[in-house]
C-alpha cells in the first residue's frame, strides 16, 4: 500500500481542472503548467526509485482489497514509463509556450494536455483491465480535442477518421473485456492471470488474445491496423505531434506487452507467432513509408511504425534478454521521437513548409539545430554509443539465439534504412545552398531548441550510461518474464 503512485495521475488532473478557470490568462496557465509538470517529474522519479529499491508498489483504491476493488500497480516498467512520460510532457509544454499560438492557448490547450497526461500515466499504472479501458478513453478524449483544436480543414477531416477508428476499437475493447469476464469472472489483471492458468481451456483464450491484439494493435499502430496513423498524426502542430508520436502509440505497445506477458503466456505457439509475424510486417511497411515520402513529417511518422515493430518483435521472442531489449528500446524511442518531432517542428516554423524539396542549406544559419538533429537521427537509428544501440542489440541477439533469423535480420536491415531515411532529411534540408524563407525572422529558434536539445542530451546520456541503467531495465524485464512476481505483489498470497 503506497499512496505515492497515484500522484502522477492526480496532480495533472487537478492542474487541468484548475487551469480551466484561468483560460484567458495565458501567463498564469504557462506557469502553473510548467510547475505542475516539474512536480510530476520529481514525484515519478521518487516513485521509480522506490520501486527499484523496495519492489512493486500497489495501491488499493478506497481500501477495497485486491481483487475486489481497483488496484493501481507500479512495477519497474510502469514507473519508468511514467517517468519518461512526465519528462516528455514537460518538454512539450516548454516548447508549446513559444510555438502553439495564443489562440490555442486561450482555448484550453494546456488543460487538455494535462488531461492527456492523466490518461497516459493512468494507463501505465492501473492494474485493472476495465480501468485500463477508462484511462484509454480519458487519453483518447483529450487526443480528439488536441487533434481538432484550431479547426483547420485538414484537422477537421482527419479528426473524423481518427475518432471513428478509435470509437470502433473502444467498442471492441469493451467486447474483449466482456468475453474475458465471462471466462475468468474477474477484472484484476493479476487475478485474471491466475484464473487463466487454472482454466486451461486454450481455444477461447487464444480467441481472447487475438481480440486484445486487434484492440491494442489499432492504438499501437501495428500492421495492418496502422492505416489511420500517417494521416491523423500529420494534421496537428509539432508539440501535439510529439505528444501523440511519443506517448499514444506507446500506450498501445505497453498494453500488448502487458497482456501478452501477464495473461497469454501459456500457449505461445499460436499467439506469439502471430505477434511476431505482424511485428516483422510492421517494420517492413514502416520502412517502406519512411523511404517513400519526401515530406519530413511523413518520414518521422513512418519511423514511429518501424519502432513499434521492433519493440513488439522483442516482446514476441519472449526471453528475458529480448524483453530487456524491448523495454530499453521502448524508453529510448519515446524520448527520441519526441525530440525529432520537436526538431522538425522548428524546421517547419523556419521554412513554413514540410516538403523536403523546398528546404536546403539550413545549417549555415542554424548550426545548433543542424547538429542536434544529426545526433538525434543517429540515436534513432541506433548508432553506438547513442541510446538506440543497446536495446536493438539485445533484441537482435535474442532473435538469433532463439533461431528467429528472419525477424532479427529484418530488425538489423531496418536500422540501416531508418538511418538512410533520417539522413535524407539532414542532407536535403541542412546541406546545400541556403535559401531565404519568409517566416525566418519570426521563429524563436533559440527558445524552441531548448526542449529537443535536452531530450537529445538524454538520448546521449542514456546511451553512454547503458551500464548504469541496465540493472533498472533488467529489473523491469524480470517482472515481465516472471508474472508470478507481479501476481504475488498484487494479491499478496
Amino acid at each position: 500500500m503506497n499512496n505515492l503512485i497515484i500522484f502522477p495521475i492526480l496532480i495533472p488532473l487537478i492542474t487541468g481542472v484548475v487551469l480551466i478557470f484561468f483560460a484567458k490568462n495565458i501567463m498564469v496557465q504557462r506557469w502553473i503548467s510548467a510547475i505542475s509538470a516539474l512536480i510530476v517529474i520529481i514525484v515519478s522519479f521518487m516513485q521509480a526509485n522506490l520501486v527499484y529499491h523496495d519492489g512493486i508498489q500497489t495501491m488499493d483504491v478506497s481500501n477495497w482489497e485486491a481483487p475486489y476493488g481497483i488496484t493501481l500497480v507500479s512495477d519497474m516498467l510502469s514507473s519508468l514509463l511514467v517517468l519518461t512520460t512526465s519528462i516528455i510532457a514537460f518538454a512539450a509544454l516548454i516548447y508549446s509556450f513559444q510555438s502553439i499560438g495564443e489562440a490555442r492557448e486561450k482555448f484550453y490547450y494546456y488543460p487538455v494536455v494535462h488531461f492527456l497526461i492523466v490518461g497516459v500515466n493512468g494507463a501505465f499504472t492501473t492494474g485493472d483491465i476495465f480501468n485500463l479501458f477508462v484511462f484509454f478513453e480519458v487519453m483518447l478524449m483529450s487526443s480528439y480535442v488536441l487533434l481538432v483544436l484550431g479547426g483547420t480543414k485538414i484537422q477537421l477531416r482527419e479528426s473524423i477518421k481518427y475518432i471513428l477508428v478509435n470509437v470502433i476499437s473502444s467498442a471492441l475493447f469493451v467486447i474483449a473485456v466482456a468475453y474475458l469476464y465471462s471466462v475468468v469472472g474477474t477484472l484484476n489483471m493479476a487475478h485474471i492471470s491466475v484464473r487463466l492458468s487454472e482454466a486451461g481451456n486454450t481455444g477461447i483464450i487464444t480467441v481472447l488474445a487475438v481480440l486484445f491484439l486487434i484492440v491494442f494493435g489499432l492504438k499501437g499502430a501495428i500492421f495492418p491496423l496502422y492505416f489511420w496513423l500517417p494521416g491523423s498524426y500529420y494534421a496537428p502542430p509539432a508539440p501535439v505531434m510529439a505528444l501523440f508520436g511519443a506517448l499514444l502509440t506507446k500506450v498501445g505497445v505497453y498494453s500488448i506487452t502487458r497482456t501478452f506477458t501477464l495473461f497469454f503466456y501459456h500457449d505461445v505457439g499460436y499467439t506469439h507467432q502471430l505477434l511476431q509475424i505482424l511485428a516483422i510486417l510492421t517494420i517492413i511497411s514502416g520502412v517502406i513509408g519512411a523511404l517513400a515520402f519526401t515530406d519530413i513529417k511523413k518520414i518521422v511518422i513512418y519511423n514511429i511504425i518501424v519502432a513499434v515493430g521492433v519493440i513488439l518483435f522483442g516482446v514476441s521472442v519472449l526471453t528475458p534478454e529480448s524483453l530487456t531489449g524491448a523495454v530499453f528500446y521502448l524508453i529510448h524511442d519515446m524520448n527520441i521521437k519526441a525530440a525529432l518531432f520537436l526538431l522538425i517542428g522548428i524546421i517547419i516554423a523556419i521554412t513554413g513548409t514540410s516538403d523536403l524539396n523546398k528546404i536546403s542549406g539550413l545549417i549555415n544559419r542554424y548550426p545548433g539545430l543542424g547538429w542536434t538533429f544529426f545526433i538525434a537521427g543517429l540515436a534513432l537509428a541506433g548508432i553506438p554509443p547513442l541510446s538506440g544501440f543497446a536495446g536493438k542489440m539485445m533484441i537482435v541477439r535474442a532473435g538469433f539465439e532463439t533461431e528467429n533469423y528472419i525477424g532479427a535480420f529484418v530488425v538489423l536491415m531496418s536500422s540501416l534504412l531508418v538511418l538512410y531515411s533520417i539522413m535524407r532529411i539532414f542532407i536535403g534540408g541542412f546541406w546545400g545552398t541556403p535559401r531565404a524563407y519568409k517566416n525566418e525572422d519570426k521563429a524563436p529558434v533559440k527558445w524552441l531548441l531548448i526542449a529537443p536539445a535536452v531530450l537529445t542530451a538524454f538520448a546521449v546520456l542514456y546511451g553512454l550510461g547503458t551500464e548504469a541503467v541496465y540493472p533498472v531495465i533488467s529489473a523491469a524485464a524480470e517482472t515481465l518474464a516472471n508474472p508470478e512476481i507481479y501476481i504475488h505483489a498484487v494479491l499478496k498470497e
Binding site: V134, S159, I163, V167, S170, V177, Y234
Partner: protein, 113 residues
C-alpha cells in the same frame, strides 16, 4: 434468454456495420451508437441473466445477480455518450467548414489543406 440476447446483439452489430459503411457522416455516427449499444448488452449477457434477487446488502437472498457487469455498463454508457456528443458536434462543424458530409468527398489529397 441468452440465445435471444445473442440474436439481438448480432442484429445490432449488423445494423451498426451497415450504417458505418455508408457514406453519410450522420449515418456513421448513428452506427457507432448502435455498436456501443451492442457491446453494452454483450457485457450484460456475459455476466449472466436472471440469476436471482438484486444484489443489495441486508436482503439476504440465496442467489443474487452479479452487480459488476452493470457497473461496467454504466461506465461504458457514460463514456460512449460523451464521445458520441463530441462526434456530433465535430460532424456539424466539419459540415459547416468543409461544406459536405459525404465521406468520399472528405478524403482530401495526402498532406494537403
Amino acid at each position: 434468454m441468452e440465445i435471444l440476447m445473442a440474436f439481438l446483439i448480432g442484429i445490432l452489430f449488423m445494423a451498426a456495420t451497415y450504417l458505418m459503411l455508408s457514406k453519410s457522416l450522420l449515418r456513421i455516427i448513428i452506427g457507432t451508437g448502435l455498436l456501443s449499444h451492442g457491446a453494452h448488452l454483450l457485457i450484460l449477457t456475459m455476466g449472466g441473466l436472471k440469476r436471482g434477487a438484486p444484489p443489495l446488502l441486508g436482503e439476504h437472498a440465496a442467489t443474487y445477480v452479479d452487480p459488476l457487469p452493470q457497473a461496467l455498463i454504466l461506465t461504458a454508457i457514460v463514456i460512449s455518450f460523451g464521445v458520441t456528443s463530441f462526434f456530433l458536434v465535430l460532424a456539424y462543424r466539419a459540415y459547416q467548414e468543409l461544406g459536405t458530409d459525404n465521406m468520399d468527398r472528405l478524403r482530401g489529397k495526402e498532406g494537403h489543406e
